[in-house]
Amino acid sequence: MVVDNKISVGEIWQILEKITDPEIPILSIVDLGIVRDVKISPSLLVEKGQGVEVFITSTYSGCPAMDMISMNIKMELLQHGFTNIKITQQLSPAWTTDWMTERGKEKLQQYGIAPPVGKVMDQQFLDDLKVECPQCHSKNTKLLSEFGSTACKALFQCQDCKEPFDYFKCH
């Protein structure tokens, strides 16, 4: 595939939607809200193909997936004919689960991970939350541990079907 010089920013976003989070492979990095901005930069123009700059932000400071995500973005864009790719990691504003798309939340639910409830982490703490069991949809669930299989998740258990499940924490 070769890019003509008129590829739009919108098309680049579509390309990025194919890249998934290595730890939650059903979620694209766009659904997760990791991609903050895409710019076609004249300053990055080279002989063939266009230069593109992708701005990403990590979910958690220590997220080990970020380096892999950066590499995957590069690989995917290279395959689409981009030769000059710049990935800029942005710290501020800090990532929040508010940036997760509705489609992303639905996909999480189907995958068996309860999506974040409500907006932003305020003073409201986890155990006051009514988290819905992704298996049987009961709201009779309880927090087992506020750290789950990865930093972004907490571990809950359903009191009705007894199934333990991950909850994607508000952040």
């Binding site: 958690y60 400071s61 220590g62 710290l91 990532w95 506020e146 299989s149």
Partner: protein, 259 residues
């Protein structure tokens, strides 16, 4: 001059998180139960991630070095972390109390550092604060559980308090670079932190049915073999060297080695 202070200040923040994170990571695979093993490993990961952000910034300020050089190739005397961070974990109670003191400190520090005139420090603080909020909550709950638990757990956390209290004063004793940065609105004035920190400790100790610590955190520097110890100025306990031996071994033996 100010530039040097900013570099030192950034390294101090980085070293605090790295050394504390490294210590906590020693629990990985050894936690009392699986959920808590995972929790403490996640906290360690958050802290190491924070330190990376600070090291990257420090490397940029210094020029000609990388984040890895700063983490892996500096000697113990160049490290600027607080002594509290480098102390051995001890038992679960001591690890928890250490983390609780440390997280309470970071929580109030980052809240204020968000207001720094240095946009990069402000951005790292904003990101880190979200994580530290969880660390503080988790460690507070454990202090309460241990203090208000069994006779044995209470005995252990009281013993931990005895061992750790003398190290809390250092948090509020500014080094030269901290004072310089605070004066220039880049860093946090530690004088403003102490009251918030103390109130939080008293509140959680009350919930844990533990007696309030006697008096204020004392800024006494411990005497060690004739040398006044002060982590922020690179005068460390022998425990830091033990950590560095372990942590820096690979990079020093195989320079530039990558995963």
């Amino acid at each position: 001059m100010m530039q040097d202070s900013l570099i030192d200040y950034t390294l101090h923040l980085a070293d605090n998180s790295l050394i504390m994170g490294h210590r906590l990571s020693e629990w990985t695979g050894h936690g009392p139960i699986l959920e808590q093993d995972i929790a403490i490993s996640n906290i360690a990961l958050d802290l190491i991630g924070q330190s990376r952000n600070f090291y990257q910034y420090a490397a940029q300020l210094k020029g000609g070095v990388t984040e890895d050089d700063l983490a892996y190739l500096r000697d113990a005397t160049e490290f600027k972390n607080m002594l509290l961070a480098e102390l051995p974990n001890g038992d679960w109670a001591k690890t928890i109390l250490k983390l609780f003191f440390f997280s309470t400190y970071q929580y109030y520090l980052y809240q204020k550092l968000i207001g720094s005139t240095d946009t990069q420090l402000s951005a790292i603080a904003e990101k880190s604060l979200k994580e530290v909020t969880y660390h503080l909550r988790w460690s507070s709950e454990w202090v309460i559980r241990l203090g208000d638990g069994t006779e044995e757990s209470k005995k252990r956390i009281e013993k931990a308090l005895e061992e750790l209290w003398d190290y809390t004063g250092e948090m509020f004793l500014p080094s030269e670079y901290e004072s310089e940065c605070a004066k220039n609105k880049i860093g946090v004035d530690l004088g403003f932190l102490k009251e918030d920190w103390m109130n939080k400790v008293i509140q959680i100790f009350a919930e844990a049915t533990l007696p309030s610590p006697k008096g204020e955190p004392v800024p006494t520097l411990r005497e060690g073999q004739g040398v006044r110890l002060n982590g922020k100025e690179g005068k460390h306990t022998e425990h830091l060297q033990e950590i560095l031996n372990d942590m820096q071994y690979l990079q020093r033996t195989y320079p530039g080695c990558e995963w």
